[in-house]
Symmetry: none
Subunit: 183 residues, 2 copies
């Protein structure tokens, strides 16, 4: 799977989890990328502006500005940048949003370096196998919540009111990891 071997491509890795970051960074370097690290959108933006990377791995849920903003910025800086969005709180709503903003792929954590590299080379094909089994109720709820939350621009109070559930409960649900994603 050596898609790229001539000279080393640049890769911007943005994630606020230090440990995860260094581990993944090392793994990616071993696969031939020149990795630059950033731990927040604010930190990543100037780096990207000075030197737009060929590849990027962006975590969605970071303290401060959402990774989605960075995805958009990266895409605008250089539409050729291949961006993989990575998140521990995967949902269809944010996946759709990320792709619309220019992401190449959207992966749920945990994902290993090989999967990420593979995602860079992935091109759209209408021949994806469909899921055989219906999602669990928990998953369904999670997706629904995420979608409404997205529509409310992340406003938890508004979402709770709209969904007719208590803010505290919503908070708790959001804090929990989503049920294993449907395939």
């Amino acid at each position: 799977m050596n898609i790229l071997s001539a000279d080393s491509p640049s890769l911007l890795l943005v994630d606020d989890d230090q440990t995860f970051c260094t581990v993944l960074s090392r793994a990616l370097e071993k696969r031939g990328f020149i990795v630059t690290l950033a731990h927040s959108v604010e930190q990543a933006l100037p780096l990207a502006k000075v030197n737009p990377p060929e590849f990027a791995v962006v975590d969605l849920k970071m303290s401060g500005v959402s990774g989605l903003v960075l995805v958009q910025a990266l895409h605008e800086l250089d539409a050729a940048t291949r961006i993989v969005v990575l998140t521990g709180y995967a949902s269809i709503a944010t996946a759709v949003e990320a792709v619309k903003l220019g992401a190449t792929q959207y992966l749920a954590k945990p994902a290993n370096a090989d999967e990420i590299v593979a995602a860079f080379g992935h091109s759209p094909s209408p021949n994806l196998p469909l899921n055989a089994q219906p999602s669990s109720v928990d998953r369904l709820e999670w997706e629904h919540i995420q979608r409404v939350l997205q529509e409310q621009q992340g406003n938890i109070s508004a979402t709770a009111r709209l969904l007719n559930m208590h803010r505290r409960t919503l908070q708790r649900k959001l804090a929990k990891r989503p049920a294993p994603s449907p395939a």
Copy 2:
């Protein structure tokens, strides 16, 4: 936000579930769309070629060709077509694919007509307020359960396993709900 509603927009609805189709069709017509029905990709393609619709609602899982193919075709025929993908077997992978192939939104069934219209990001008749109050979590859950239950021919144990919930809990949920529908 240019909302032009003088003449009714055309909408192609493609789903192989007859009942679901007619119900949704009626609901969409009530909201001002001129609806054309198709029950398979093969059936939908010629219709779209003759007359590319302004809007489309496509079910992913249909016997025969995947709805993704149709999404791509529709988008190629007219990039301005707003396409909402709808499926009872939602997955992040297919959502990403769908959007890359040109879909505007990707919703998990059950979704009501209002949510679908809202997904188009277009209000066909400004008189009717764009309320689009999302269904409550409870209602969603109820409908999803009913859907799966039906697929399992009423087998409660099997449904519970599939939904990843305990049989006892499913029983209780089913027992406690002769009157749903808050809307």
